[in-house]
């Protein structure tokens, strides 16, 4: 029981970090059908920018998050404009994989050229450093903050997709892009907005989750497949699916690492194989 209570907050926090970063990729893959392996690279850009803002500019934590998100979106614009537009909905997975691996290498190389090849600290504000008393046990305040961020992201996304005009267009474009286009929805604009949203969420997750997925020179490569796996297990384009997959895989990974640390990611990938084999389109996904 004690072990379970020890594992659960960590698993939950890890799952929420996975969710916050992967949900952007999930929406993007549901809509644009792009296997974007560079998604982690945009999270890394967010982490680097936040670290730079906190350490060198000395701004406060919320401002640093804002700088990271907006900065990553701005940096991603030329990539969207010049490269991603060519591979939306067209082209096979192989082309997409290779193009996005190329983009990842490029971003990793440039980031390390500019900021130097050391891991980047993202110092937490005073309020998040200490433990937090839940009444029956103490958990690190940061874990609680991460879980909160994940919940807020999920609710905000759900509201946006279900209740707003943009959400209607987005859902229409996901379900049937050609028909949406024929009905006068300018899908290219929806695509661009979704791309910006995905990058922004990645950067946000990259900063907030830095305690659990530390920002280091090879961040984008290290977690390259993790985010893709989460999306695949959940089903592309499904917020519920991404949430379920993140929590499930977060639990599998954290439990595995607690109980049998020498096996590394063994249990994580066993879970992936079993789930993907039984649900090839993901837990909550649809066949395209």
């Amino acid at each position: 029981m004690r072990t379970i209570l020890g594992i659960l907050p960590d698993a939950l926090a890890y799952g929420m970090v996975l969710f916050t970063i992967s949900i952007g990729l999930s929406i993007m893959m549901g809509l644009m059908r792009v296997v974007n392996l560079a998604h982690g690279a945009f999270a890394m850009i967010g982490g680097y920018l936040a670290s730079f803002a906190l350490v060198s500019l000395g701004v406060s934590y919320p401002i640093a998050i804002l700088i990271a998100v907006i900065g990553a979106v701005i940096i991603s614009v030329p990539f969207e404009f010049l490269l991603y537009r060519r591979i939306y909905r067209r082209s096979d997975e192989l082309t997409q994989i290779l193009l996005t691996i190329g983009i990842t290498f490029f971003i990793v190389g440039i980031a390390n050229y500019i900021f130097g090849p050391t891991s980047k600290p993202i110092p937490l504000p005073e309020a998040l450093r200490g433990p937090f008393d839940l009444g029956f046990r103490m958990i690190p305040a940061h874990r609680l903050f991460v879980i909160g961020c994940g919940v807020v992201t999920a609710v905000a996304l759900w509201l946006m997709i279900e209740k707003t005009e943009f959400g209607v267009r987005l859902r229409a474009a996901v379900d049937n892009g050609d028909m949406a286009e024929a009905l006068g929805i300018r899908t290219q604009i929806v695509y661009s907005a979704t791309f910006a949203l995905a990058v922004g969420l990645a950067a946000f997750g990259g900063v907030v989750g830095a305690e659990l997925l530390p920002v280091e020179p090879f961040y984008a490569l290290r977690y390259m497949v993790t985010f893709l796996v989460v999306v695949s297990v959940g089903g592309a384009g499904s917020v519920t699916g991404a949430m379920a997959a993140s929590l499930l895989l977060g639990l599998a990974d954290t439990t595995g690492k607690y109980l049998a640390p020498e096996f590394g990611e063994f249990f994580f990938y066993v879970a992936v194989i079993v789930i993907v084999y039984i649900f090839p389109h993901g837990l909550f996904g649809k066949a395209h």
């Binding site: 997975e93 192989l94 193009l99 190329g102 290498f105 190389g109 990938y269």
Partner: protein
């Protein structure tokens, strides 16, 4: 250069001629390597080992259209198997190659059963998961694999009991080139076989092939086994030549690199796979000396350029250009 494309109606004599030309080309490449890099044969041996992996990947990706990012598993398991066999007393290099081939085929069978079941994203993710699973096991089962220290002390006996492996890699190099030559000639024959052509048909239009009564799944699994044999030979060869097998031989990076090499050279063409491996490693050899991050920027740009402007790979692009040129001349 007519040998570079699959002839529409292969005949026995044309086949034999093609085999001879292929053998001559590889022997010539081997000789060039020998004279251009006389002091760096270890580098060339590494390139040949990787070329096997890329050619093997070509069999599943280029011929069957299976997108995989876990192919290094086939290579690495075979390398560990050959290495362990050697440590257990089977020091004959030919036998070690055989053991590698069998281990590779077995891994290919498992991987194929899992990966070729689906298409698209699930396929990709299953291939990644399989590769990572093997990597995690290789790290854990340190009694067999040496864990993160790697498997060391592999010292194979002389080839045919005559040619000892020397520290300059001369025997190793000749041995590798000969194995590559034989494998390549056999594979070029195999690539013209009805089976391989049917795999190409499956890649082009899975639904249509299924409609004409072809059972797709078993064929893809069999092709995966063949690919496993090829990758296994490469893995065993690397174990024989370097004397060590490390965790990097099953890593995700190795799988991704192999895919990059394949696309660089040209998928669906065994020569493309070979040339891609050579070009990538040469590029790596000369550029990465500067700094690993400059290397990453350059390889990223190279990859983007190739995908956007030469989507069929360099070799296929060159043969297409030559074909166009010939046609233009013939029309004149």
């Amino acid at each position: 250069m007519a040998t570079l494309s699959v002839p529409a109606t292969p005949t026995a004599t044309a086949g034999l001629r093609n085999d001879l030309i292929a053998a001559a080309v590889i022997a010539a490449l081997g000789a060039i390597g020998w004279f251009v890099f006389p002091d760096d044969l270890a580098f060339l041996i590494r390139v040949i080992g990787l070329a096997f992996l890329v050619i093997s990947l070509d069999l599943v990706t280029g011929f069957c259209g299976v997108a995989t990012l876990g192919h290094a598993a086939l290579f690495g398991v075979a390398a560990y198997a050959a290495g362990n066999a050697c440590l257990a007393g089977v020091t004959d290099p030919i036998l070690m190659l055989l053991i590698g081939a069998v281990a590779g085929a077995a891994t290919g069978l498992m991987s194929g059963v899992l990966v070729t079941r689906f298409r698209g994203l699930p396929q990709l993710v299953l291939s990644i998961a399989f590769g990572q699973l093997v990597a995690a096991l290789a790290n854990k089962l340190s009694s067999i694999t040496g864990g993160s220290d790697g498997l060391a002390g592999i010292s194979p006996g002389p080839v045919f009991g005559i040619f000892n492996f020397d520290m300059f890699g001369r025997t190793g190099y000749v041995f590798s080139v000969v194995v590559l030559l034989i494998t390549m000639v056999l594979l070029l024959r195999f690539a013209r076989s009805p089976f391989a052509l049917m795999c190409r048909a499956i890649k082009d239009d899975t639904l249509r092939t299924r409609m004409i009564g072809v059972s797709v799944y078993p064929r893809l699994v069999v092709m995966y086994c063949v690919a496993g044999v090829v990758a296994g030979i490469g893995g065993a060869l690397t174990a024989i030549n370097t004397g060590v097998v490390g965790l990097d031989s099953v890593s995700f990076e190795r799988s991704a690199e192999a895919l990059i090499m394949l696309i660089l050279g040209g998928a669906g063409n065994l020569w493309g796979a070979l040339i891609g491996a050579i070009l990538f490693e040469l590029f790596h050899h000369y550029v990465s000396a500067a700094s690993p991050f400059h290397w990453m920027i350059l390889i990223g740009v190279l990859l983007i350029v190739v995908v956007l402007f030469f989507p069929k790979g360099l070799v296929n692009e060159v043969t297409r250009r030559i074909g166009d040129f010939r046609q233009a001349r013939a029309a004149r």
